[in-house]
Each structure stands twice: as C-alpha cells, then as structure tokens.
Amino acid sequence: MFDYCANPDTLEGLRWFSCYLTTAKHMMFYESFLVVIGLMLITVPCAMAFGFGGALAARSHVTPLRWIGKGYAAMVRGVPDIAFFLFVPLALDQGLEWMRHKVKCPDWDQPIRQGNDFVVCAQAKLPLGSAPQWQHETYGIILAVAAFAFVFGAFAAHVLSGAMNAVPKAQLETAEAYGMTKGQITRRILIPQMWVYALPGLSNLWMVLIKATPLLFLLGVQDIVYWARELGGSKTSAYAYPHPDWRLYYFLALLVFYLGLTKVSEIGLARLNRRLSRGQATLAGEEQRKAPA
C-alpha cells in the first residue's frame, strides 16, 4: 500500500504495522466486515417475507395452511438454530438438484441415492461442474442466506402473529361492518396497525440476527471469523510478515466490532421506538407528551 512497504524485512515498529495491516489479505479481511453487514441487510427482507407468510398462514381459514403456519413458527423453539443452519443448505441443495434431475434427465435409470452417495446427472448439478469459481461461491452464499431467512423467518412469524393478534378486535370488526373484504381488512387495517406491537419483538430479533452472523463461518462463507483464524495463525519466516499466534487479538477485534454493532443498533432502535410512540395512547407516548418541550 505504502511505498516503503516494498521490503518488509527492513521495517520496524509502527511502519511494520502500517504495512502489515494493509496487505492484500487484510484488505479482504476488512471487506468481509462489509460482506457480513451486507448479508444481514439481505437476510432481513427475506426473513420478513418468510415471517409474513408464516404469520398470515397461521391466521388462515384453511386448516392445513394454518397448521403449517403455526408449526413453522413453533418449530425453531424446540430445535437449536445451528442445526437448521447445517440442515437447510444441504437439504435445499439436494432438493434443487433432485428436481432439476427429474426435469432434465427423465431417462436416467440408476437410483439417485447409491449407498452413501447422492448421484444426479451432470446437467442437473448446481451450479454446473464447468461453472467458474465465483458462481460456486455465490451459490453457497445464496444457500446460507436461505438458511438464515428460514430460521429468522420462523422467529419473525412468531413475533408478527403475536402483533397481529394484539391489534384491537373492534378495529377489524368495524372494517367488516364497512363491508371490506378479508384481503382489504388485512391490507388496510391489520398490517398498518400491527407495527407498533411488533417493534419490540422485531428489534430483539435484529439483535439475535447480529449475534447469529458468525455462524456464516460454519456454512463455508469466507466471513470475518474465517479471516481472523486465517490471518491470526502464527506465521513462520517463510511469510513476508512473520508473527506468533495472534488469533486472540483478532478475535478481540471481532468482539469489539460486535459490541459496537450492538450498541449502535440499541441507540438506533431506541430512537425508532421513540418516533413510533409519538402520539400513541401508551405509557411511552404519554410521557413524551408530558415532558417539557
């Protein structure tokens, strides 16, 4: 990065560090922080979509659909989320390949499960064996996001269905008396009013999501945990920047990063909460009204 970094062996002290911390690999380490935040921001809308689906299904008048919605929301309570993180990508991958296999190779006569192997025809592989490396990586990330969206969707479904039940019944009955259809009631009355009740649960969910992101490492994503282990491990003099085992310091940096993220989120969510309570007939809203301007 700097001119004087050309020959690392001659460097000392601060200069050594300034060169060490700006190597190409460290730049990838810093990028991975952005990747983690980016993945979180992608996961949130996906999880909300899953959550909405689950919450609306749980209120459905079709009995099997209601069971699915309720079962989905209740499922993650009993089973550790990390089990889902390991299960969903693998299951999704095999499910997709199986479907493609059925469509693309209808005249394949061998069984798909041969002993301990899962064999589909070459055209059904996802991504294709000939695809470039970046496609494989992107596919892995998509599966990881799907796993996160699935688990957090179930949490969100629980929060949202609780919030939907908290909307005063009279509101919905009035809408019915005005002759609105079921869909109209949901869209115009239920969903707009639900947010205030859902906010505490959702902000908690965001905190849980932040703390679940290091698990991306288990899904093979090159995230901050991966780089911290990679860069922190002791480097012999065969490397340009030899150093002993520094993983402890790298993980301390990650700890500080996460604490910062939590603190910033706490402040942001508290602001949002104040904004949403303004003018509400709740204790928080009342306190704001009485507070001297």
Binding site: I82, L86, N204, K211, L218, L248, L255, L259
Partner: protein, 279 residues
Amino acid sequence: MSCAQTIHDYALRSIGIGERLLPRSDFTLCQQFTLIGSGLIWNIYFAVCALALGFFLSTGVALARSAPSPFVRKPAEWFIFVFRGSPLFIQFFLFYEALTLLPKAGIDLNLGIVEINMATRWLTRAWAGALIVLFLNTSAYGGEIFYGALRSVPKGDLEAADAYGFSGWKKFRKITWPTMLRLAWPAYTNEAIFLFHATTLVYFSSFPAWQQKGDALYYASYFADKTFNPFIPYPILAFYFMMLTLAIIGTFGLINRRLNRHLPQSSRKGLRPRMMLVR
C-alpha cells in the same frame, strides 16, 4: 448387528465407554439414534452445570447491577453488556485462544512456603473451557433477567417487610429474593431453553472433539457428512431436542408452581408455553 448390540456399543460412546471406532459404512437407523442420543449426554452436562453454577452468579450480578455504588454497579453493567452484546460463537473462539496461550507446563504458584504447580492443560478441553464460557454467558443473560425482576418487586412487599422489622439478609432471603425469582421465572425458563440450544455450538467453535467424543450435533453432522443425506440425522436430533425442551418446560413449570404457591388460585399464572425472544 442387532440393535441391542449397537446400544451396548455406542450408548456411552460420547464419554469414551464402549466401541472405539465409529461406524463407517452401512449406517442403520439404530446406530444414528444411539450415537446422537449418546452425544446428548454432553449437551445435558454443559447446560445443567452452566445453569446450576450460573444461577448464583446471575443473582450476584443482578444485585451488583442494582447497587448504588458505581464501583460495584459499573463492572456488573460491563459484564452484562460484553456477554450479551457479543455472539457466543466469538466468545468460544476468544476463550479458547486465551486458554491455549496459558503456559503448557502449568503455572507455578508461589505461596510463601510451598510452591504448587497449577496445571492448565485441562482448561483447553471442552468439558472445562466451554463450560466456563457457557457459565459466564448464562450468568450475564440471567443477571439481566433477574435485574429486571428485582426492579419490579412490588414496593408494598418491601414496605411490609420493613414494617415487620425485617432487614438486611433476612429481608433479602425471605422477601426480595423469592419475589424476584417468581417474577423472573418465565423469562428464566426461556433462557434455560436457549442455553440448551447453545450447547450445540461447543464442538463447532474451536474446542476440539477429542477422540470423536462429541455432542449430539457433532454426531448428527458426522452422519450427514458420511451418508450425504441430511434428512435422517437432523430430524433425529430435532426429535431429541424437542423432548429435551418439553422436559425443561415441565421441570421449570413445577418450580414455577412452587414459587407461586402462596398466591390465590386466580392470580397464579402457569408458565405459558410460548416463545419469548429475550436473547
């Protein structure tokens, strides 16, 4: 191989009793059920020990957090913030690295007359190292829950205690603490459930599973890797954890009933089997 033989060989495999080699091919349903169930011993060990020890530290942290003196309050606040604000996964890594940095030969403690050599090797093993992390983690979460409950102890109860001449330790032991527990219990049940789930992280962070003695998820992912079929081991694991969750709700429900036994029937609240996202 019959199922009884499999159970005999593998039921205690996770603690090193029985067959040394894990099955390598032709996995039967019985093997998967037995081994994953065997791994559950570690999940129960971690969760029960961490909860039992953490319960006392939680109370201590909650009391320190509500202390008037900032010298007591601030450390408790920081303890709660650090352990609640960061991922457990990172905490495992951090503690593992810190514990491996301790000198391998042990620390020589000079106690004036005698010198003792304190071994440090065992701290890097999962049974001790991971337990320490889980213990501190659950103490922070429990401390926050107890602190919230401590702040909602009804004023009238405390005034009544004063009027009866209770003070100090006696007031805390007889009035404040039982009421705090009663109020905190639903949330604490939830924490216990989450802690049980968190124990599955141990062997997926840096703590090595020595001689393939792992927990339930370790064996489940072993089978999923070997058979390349996730649809059998993970549902088995899910089944075991569902059972465990129900057992926790049952046990904590009994304690809840005892904590609430003095209240009139109508104002007693059962432990609602509902998820509260407190983490």
